[in-house]
């Protein structure tokens, strides 16, 4: 018996020794260290709300205030076209959130563009930049299309006129100072082989710097109707937020925090001209680039910021009002009963899975529109920083 107790005592001692490291091995103080690898740093003053991450800046064209201001001058300068008839601002009006109010604009030769002019709102946060091109991902690339593109012709700059256009810019004393300030590392940035590259980078910098985060929604000042509309917008019944989510109200939103975002394009059932899902040529969206049948009629979801200012809607400007857009979605697509584009878009086999139709009352539509209108940023459309500098010169002031 004594031996048993001794044995038990030894085991008790052994188990006590086992517990000792548990008692002594007290964990360290908790902590979480965060390293964003410089993602919150920029040489450019973005003036963003705290909840908005910085957009990506291309390594070969970091943002600067000088490039932004030079790009602003170029954006509003009609000399940057084949016949001095149009500038970027011809199709991108500040009071319309840099859209133009037309279904489809005309270029310098009067040829009508097949696509609706998109608003230029928070473009810096978009991972693709046109209605249907999944591989066009930099603003610098995109800027070359209206300047130099020939199908359709917009600015109409080509080999026959680009030297003259450049000479016109070189003759303007404002540009000498602006180019020197924007590209101080170059001796003559408006002359020589870098001139057009500098123009493109400056235009891209201005477009990239058009930021709009000052709406009633951003200030948390929604009206009662807009609050109801917000609930409808974010409801499972309407599913709007799936394609128009994030702080930029588009699922094509990207920023410095984004590692990878697959380009998102959607067929919303606007057309079905052959009963097999066809969209009118040449507006077939992503399909134009990929040639894949499944991509027929797929277009990028635009940001809904300032959407109340950018009518008419959809890729071809064929939908006049926000109420019409909502009605199309409520019907699960658009049924065009006559004309060359007749067809039942509701039956489009390539239609996005979220376009399924829903019931919505007139009052709910009003509320939803009130919410969309709450995304209008009046500071943005009245901000003199984004306005025509040439107009200010003519008025005797300095931009």
């Amino acid at each position: 018996m004594t031996a048993t107790f001794l044995s038990s005592d030894y085991k008790l001692l052994a188990i006590s020794l086992f517990f000792l490291p548990l008692l002594l091995g007290c964990p360290q103080q908790s902590s979480t260290t965060v390293d964003d690898q410089g993602a919150s740093v920029s040489a450019f003053s973005w003036n963003l709300p705290a909840n908005i991450p910085l957009p990506k800046e291309p390594a070969d064209n970091p943002m600067s205030e000088e490039k932004f201001q030079l790009g602003r001058h170029l954006f509003y300068d009609p000399r940057l076209s084949m016949n001095g008839s149009i500038s970027c601002s011809s199709c991108h009006h500040q009071d319309k959130a840099f859209s133009d109010g037309l279904s489809r604009p005309q270029g310098a030769t009067g040829v009508q563009h097949p696509r609706n002019s998109q608003g230029l709102v928070n473009v810096a946060w978009m991972n693709t930049l046109t209605w249907g091109n999944p591989v066009l991902t930099s603003i610098e690339q995109q800027v070359t299309l209206p300047l130099f593109g020939d199908d359709p012709i917009e600015h109409g700059i080509n080999e026959s006129n680009f030297e003259q256009i450049l000479m016109d810019l070189q003759a303007d004393s404002h540009y000498a100072a602006l180019f020197s300030a924007a590209f101080p590392e170059q001796e003559e940035p408006l002359f020589g082989e870098m001139a057009w590259d500098n123009i493109i980078k400056s235009l891209a910098s201005f477009v990239r710097g058009l930021t709009s985060f000052g709406s009633a929604f951003d200030r948390g000042e929604l009206s009662v109707a807009a609050q109801r509309g917000s609930r409808i917008f974010h409801s499972e019944r309407l599913e709007c937020f799936h394609c128009h989510g994030t702080y930029n109200f588009s699922n094509a939103t990207i920023d410095r925090q984004t590692s990878f975002l697959e380009a998102q394009f959607h067929n919303t059932g606007l057309y079905n001209t052959d009963g097999s899902g066809a969209y009118p040529h040449p507006n077939t969206g992503r399909h134009e680039i990929t040639g894949r049948a499944a991509h027929m009629g797929q277009f990028r979801a635009p940001s809904l910021r300032n959407i109340a200012l950018t009518a008419p809607y959809n890729h071809d400007g064929s939908v006049a009002t926000l109420r019409d857009v909502i009605a199309n979605y409520a019907a699960g697509g658009r049924h065009t009963t006559s004309g060359t584009h007749a067809g039942d878009g509701r039956m489009n086999p390539y239609k996005d899975g979220f376009i399924t139709s829903f019931s919505i009352s007139a009052e709910e539509t009003d509320d939803l529109v009130a919410f969309l209108e709450s995304l209008t940023d009046h500071d943005f459309i009245n901000n003199p920083r984004y306005a025509d500098p040439w107009l200010m010169y003519s008025q005797g002031s300095t931009p």
């Binding site: 048993t4 107790f5 044995s7 038990s8 085991k11 008790l12 052994a14 188990i15 006590s16 086992f18 517990f19 490291p21 548990l22 008692l23 091995g25 007290c26 964990p27 360290q28 103080q29 908790s30 902590s31 979480t32 260290t33 965060v34 390293d35 964003d36 690898q37 993602a39 919150s40 991450p53 974010h234 409801s235 499972e236 994030t246 939103t253 990207i254 410095r256 925090q257 984004t258 590692s259 990878f260 975002l261 697959e262």
Partner: protein
């Protein structure tokens, strides 16, 4: 005669004590040849004086990635769990176990009943074993506390470290091979499909573990100790308590806020090592004292990410455990459970700040979660126990005090022998 009664009384006390410490038929059990078929049931109900979090808040301990079934305590009455299990010995070597269980869940729980155990086992070679192979859906054996049900613990709630590192419950499909309590030693290995947190059941997911432990039962002293290693791989693991599949926007009554749950995912490895031990000492016929403890440390190496395409590298070390001394007099047990967690995380990448905040890994106050419980359990009847618990919960930054009152029913329904329990193989 008095000696006989004293002996019987001591045996009864020992039985009650073993009931508290030993794994039950519902946790893990190899049916014996003498009682080929057994049916066991348990029910644990508790009442809490307060909720750990508000009705429209998420229970997210700062610095951790939680998930599984680690639901917070909510004010009022809660059915902690219900279980019913069937075990059958087919022949000298084969046996099968099926168990259905239902656990408390979130506010929108509908009391779903899950098939928690459905496995067959093969046991043999008593001369140099026994060796046991089990396959099917079952609880893990590597950490004894992980397979213990609420009805079998002294306390009504699960240790914090199990909530954080294993999502409270562990039921997975897999295979286990182990040497079963041979000379007091058990060693084994388990391979899992990955359906249990923190793994995922995916192409690169899954888990495995190895464990060893020693148990010894003397005249007055009972002791056990063990160590284990567990390794899990996860792909886009969600916190399925609040996230996971299709996200719904919560709706709160007017005047209250209900934020949507940020559905942050984790992809990577979780390697956890643990030590556990328990001892008890019978002072005399009426009094016993003892202690249980487990400590574990997890290494997280992976990425946290979100469906908007943002991600950050996570390198984390999460440690924690509990220490539970107790003293038993007759049918009453008084215990104190002290729990502590510690998390060190490093998140790297452009999205690290936002993902740290949304995932819950951020811990700006460097909070060390702690919980202290004073527990009283009264084995009122052979199969019915009452328990009361005063908790000082500091798992979140804001400290919460609450009381838990509970009742536990635990019984072998077949064969019906009052206060009888099968021995383990």
């Amino acid at each position: 005669m008095a000696y006989v009664f004293a002996g019987l009384y001591a045996m009864k006390i020992r039985f009650i004590f073993l009931l508290l410490l030993s794994p039950s038929a519902l946790a893990h059990y190899i049916p014996s040849l003498t009682q080929a078929t057994t049916v066991d049931a348990s029910l644990a109900v508790s009442w809490s004086s307060a909720s750990q979090v508000g009705d429209y808040d998420f229970w997210q301990i700062p610095g951790t990635l939680m998930g599984g079934d680690a639901w917070p305590t909510r004010k009022g009455v809660d059915i902690n769990e219900m279980n019913i299990g069937l075990s059958h010995r087919l022949d000298d070597n084969l046996f099968a176990v099926i168990k259905l269980g239902s656990h408390s869940a979130g506010t929108d729980s509908h009391g779903a009943v899950d098939l928690e155990h459905a496995y067959v086992g093969w046991v043999c070679c008593d001369e140099f074993g026994p060796w046991v192979v089990e396959a099917g859906k079952m609880s893990a054996l590597f950490s004894p506390a992980l397979g213990v049900h609420g009805a079998e613990r002294l306390s009504s709630d699960t240790p914090l470290v199990l909530d954080v590192l294993f999502g409270r419950h562990f039921h997975d499909q897999g295979i286990r091979f182990w040497l079963h309590e041979t000379g007091g030693f058990s060693v084994g290995a388990e391979l899992w499909k990955g359906q249990a947190f923190p793994a995922t059941d995916s192409e690169k997911g899954g888990a495995w573990d190895i464990f060893g432990r020693y148990q010894w039962q003397g005249q007055r002293l009972h002791l056990s100790a063990g160590a284990w290693l567990y390794s899990a791989t996860a792909e886009a693991r969600a916190d399925h308590r609040y996230g996971g599949g299709h996200q719904h926007n919560p709706v709160a009554p007017p005047g209250q806020a209900a934020a949507p749950f940020p559905d942050i995912r984790y992809s990577g490895d979780t390697n956890i090592g643990g030590l556990h031990g328990a001892f008890s000492y019978q002072l005399n016929q009426r009094w016993q004292l003892g202690m249980e403890a487990e400590w574990m440390q997890a290494k997280l190496d992976g990425i946290v990410h979100k469906n908007t395409g943002i991600q950050a590298q996570l390198d984390g070390t999460h440690s924690g455990g509990w220490l539970q001394p107790f003293i038993t007099r007759d049918k009453h047990t008084l215990a104190i459970r002290a729990e502590l967690l510690s998390m060190k995380n490093t998140l790297t990448g452009p999205a690290a700040p936002v993902l740290a905040a949304e995932s819950g890994l951020a811990n700006p106050l460097e909070h060390d979660p702690q919980r202290l419980s004073l527990i009283w359990r009264w084995q009122w009847r052979d199969h019915l126990a009452l328990r009361a618990q005063a908790v000082r919960d500091n798992s979140l930054v804001e400290r919460e005090h609450y009381l838990l009152l509970g009742v536990v029913w635990q019984q072998r329904l077949w064969p019906h022998v009052a206060a009888a329990r099968d021995h383990h193989h």
